[in-house]
Symmetry: C2
Subunit: 154 residues, 2 copies
């Protein structure tokens, strides 16, 4: 169980085999990873408002900054924030299903897809093309949903 | 009061004069900005462990990823998350002093310094120079402290 968890973490960290810091407590891991997702969600919200819904005037600089934040967070090695005892069967304040530490192929797939699409979001935002950004917003959102559907409890 | 708050927000947003999204509730602003600081703190912790304390083996790729995340968050326009009614005299779950919306020169100074040093952190991390990264970690930390000392309650 511990081994598969470490493997899953290493996969999500996308090429980081070593821990980046002294191991955090489970509580701190959960808080830090939720902070990362929440901050990405804020930036996704800005892209939705400007590129998809048009509720707010399109500002290419703001879109670039938002996509940069999302991509940088996605590439920051968040896999280190998933120790095997940090799922909802063992820890509080998380909806992470224990399957996360069992379905390593699926974890690899959703994690790889998410990072790839976040990197594309950064590239597309840099072009200033609103329509392309709206399409890539959707592609990123689908990779978010894939992980939620598989590994986050309702 | 409202005007100075908006000005302070615009300053911290570093060149973003327009709101990036439909205005969030005060509660959502507070949660999103705290998420940003918390995620930066996690990444600062990785740099401290590897470049300053040496508790964890130095990994240049991890340091680059951590600094990228910090810089991207610092440049993401967080000023939009500071509406005048989001200080501790009017809102809950925040230690933001109301002075933040009165001392606009000081807010400009601490915000500009923070973004500048975060950008330098990203540049230094890209070189892979551990000693230089340790020194720049300290420079960034001082800009964090300057804001805490002035605008965050104990």
């Amino acid at each position: 169980m511990k081994k598969t968890g470490v493997i899953a973490a290493a996969i999500l960290a996308t090429s980081f085999a070593m821990p980046a810091a002294a191991q955090l407590s489970v509580e701190d891991q959960i808080e830090a990873r939720q902070a990362g997702y929440q901050f990405m969600a804020w930036n996704m919200g800005k892209i939705k408002a400007q590129a998809v819904d048009g509720d707010v005037e399109f500002n290419a600089d703001q879109m670039k900054a938002a996509a940069n934040a999302i991509a940088a967070i996605a590439n920051s090695g968040m896999g280190a924030l998933y120790s095997p005892d940090s799922a909802m069967d063992k820890a509080e304040n998380t909806r992470l299903k224990p399957e996360f530490f069992q379905q390593t192929d699926k974890v690899r797939e959703v994690g790889t897809n998410f990072v790839r699409e976040a990197n594309k979001l950064q590239e597309v935002a840099a072009t200033g093309d609103r329509g392309a950004l709206a399409r890539q917003f959707s592609a990123v959102g689908q990779t978010c949903k894939a992980c939620h559907d598989n590994f986050r409890a309702d």
